[in-house]
């Protein structure tokens, strides 16, 4: 089960221990390498070295934006006289994403170890894991694991006699997609509604209670122990340049074996779906693939061979996002899907920016009448204009996410939308 030291042999990193029974328990996790390298990091590494290794590794944020993690860490100012905070983003609300849940419920010690290492590098003494409110089971598993870690002096004051101390607290959200946006998450953790903040200042400089703050996704932090153990160069040799390492893909929709699959970056979309997910429920090529969560533009069969990397997905006109792949086969109703996603974004808009608050409502209302056969030809241009005028004109990217499915539907399936209008009119 151990991760190979030869990068060419590496098939998975975060899921290395995932199938070991009871690995959520400290004793079992330790038998399989958890916290094994931590004493070395605490005694022989310093902040600069850790940040350098993570920079060298090429690790990019796994929550969706793909921002280089080492670079993010290097933005944190030192000696500000304020505490620095580390927040783990476990809000996991992007439709289609369900990967962080498996790390938390099956191998919580991997995340805790990654957070200790990240916290040590950043000089953090108080760290938090913000978990979406629905994940009550995962919260309980994490809390049990954290209690064990405190007991074993892996958390708290003077960790393993190193002189370094860090406290870790699990914070439960309460059902708001927007809190996955890092500044909304910070607002929420301050006990307020999760409304994104205008940037700059970026959280690295002014975040949680206006102190320097790093917000990293669960999968990102869970990758850190392997990077420090095997080295940044090792990680950089997995996958392909600028898109290094392995990535967990949450595959759902019309596939035979939906689930989480961690594969080296650069594996093709087709290989993932055909070989790992047992192919499609109907037909041989997908009608639509949403490659990175519901906010990312749709791909069609033409891009079935696209390698799963940040760069290739961008070239194909979409985004790798959080790696949440929603597959629709030939039976899928694209109008119904767009309507459903429009409802989602209208429901989740925090309401502070007019283009988003009003725009998401417009999109939902127009899509509802199109789906119900009360639409007109003009609605197609209303949708297109509304979506175009929302994207890029708001504090956060929720409006862009709301526009994506609508614009994708109009771009790839205009006849299908038009047929819907005519069919109902007749």
């Amino acid at each position: 089960m151990a991760i190979p030291s030869d990068p060419k042999q590496v098939k998975q990193i975060c899921f290395d221990r995932i199938n070991i029974p009871d690995v959520n328990r400290l004793a079992v996790a330790r038998k399989h390498g958890a916290y094994e390298f931590l004493p070395t990091v605490l005694s022989e590494f310093d902040s600069a070295r850790i940040i350098d290794e993570v920079k060298t590794s090429g690790l990019r944020g796994r929550g969706g934006a793909g921002f280089p993690t080492g670079l993010k860490w290097s933005f944190v100012p030192r000696n500000t006289g304020k505490p620095t905070y580390l927040l783990c983003n476990a809000d996991e609300g992007e439709p289609g994403t369900f990967k962080d849940r498996d790390i938390m419920r099956f191998d919580p010690h991997l995340l805790i170890e990654g957070m200790i290492m990240a916290g040590f590098a950043l000089g953090v003494h108080d760290a938090y894991i913000y978990v979406r409110g629905e994940f009550l089971h995962e919260v309980n598993v994490l809390n049990a694991a954290i209690a064990e870690a405190y007991e074993a002096n892996l958390l708290g004051e003077n960790i393993l006699g190193s002189g370094y101390g860090m406290h870790l607290t699990v914070h439960r959200g309460a059902g708001a997609y927007i809190c996955g946006e890092e500044t909304a998450l910070i607002e929420s953790l301050e006990g307020k509604p999760g409304r994104p903040r205008f940037k700059p200042p970026f959280p690295a400089v002014e975040g949680f209670y206006r102190s320097p703050t790093v917000v990293n996704n669960v999968e990102t932090l869970a990758t850190v122990p392997a990077i420090l153990k095997f080295g940044g160069d090792w990680h950089a040799a997995i996958g392909i340049p600028n898109n290094t390492g392995c990535k967990i893909f949450s595959v759902s929709g019309h596939v035979n074996k939906a689930g989480n699959y961690e594969v080296p970056m650069g594996t093709s979309l087709k290989t993932l779906i055909e070989e790992h997910c047992g192919g499609l429920q109907h037909g041989s090529a997908p009608k639509v693939v949403i490659p990175g969560g519901s906010s990312t533009p749709w791909l069609t069969a033409e891009h079935y061979d696209t390698p799963l990397t940040y760069d290739d997905m961008m070239k194909a006109g979409s985004m790798l996002g959080s790696g949440a792949i929603i597959v629709m086969d030939e039976t899928a109703d694209v109008v119904a899907m767009s309507r459903r996603l429009a409802h989602f974004y209208a429901h989740e808009s925090c309401g502070q920016c007019t283009p988003c608050r009003e725009g998401t409502g417009w999109l939902e209302r127009v899509m509802t009448r199109v789906e119900n056969g009360q639409g007109t030809e003009e609605d197609m241009s209303v949708l297109s204009e509304a979506a175009t005028h929302m994207a890029g004109r708001t504090i956060c990217a929720l409006a862009d996410g709301a526009a994506a499915p609508i614009l994708s539907m109009l771009q790839h399936f205009p006849e299908e939308v038009r047929a819907r209008l005519l069919e109902k009119a007749a």
Binding site: P95, T97, A174, P193, S252, G253, A258, I326, R340
Partner: protein
Amino acid sequence: MSADAVVSETDRSEKNRFSDERLAEIEALVKRYPSAQSALMPVLHMAQEDFGYLSMDTQQMVADVLGLRLMQVREVVTFYTMFREQPCGSYLLEVCTNAGCMLNGANELVAHMCKTLQINIGETTPDGMFTVTEVECAGACGGAPVVQVNNVYHEKATPESMDALIAECRAAGGQ
């Protein structure tokens, strides 16, 4: 808003009061954050667990416990969908109908459940046993369709499995 001031203001004669154990738990929790306001969401979860829903009285009590203004509490309660201002059935059945679940029959599933219980989405059965709601992505799309029953995930739910679950809940009575 200091940790010491936290518990002192709860000497009110409301119906819903946290137990001494809860107050001790809250006092410890507040110390984990730079400010007591950060403990608001966890404390609202506790209040909802203890009292079933967040009445205006309960919200005022939470505000007092944490040294916040009622408006700060109201703002949070109304922003987040998991906080309820009305009671719901003993069994809260939350059906995800977002992308992955919709592609695997969630709309048909929720329609079936509503038919079985003879209620519409968002309603509670007259005996107060069941509430059915439609929720946004539950983050478990690999097991679509997903139904949360009092916060426990039921994955790959089918009309048959939900019928069985409803029958089981009925047999068990209230809670």
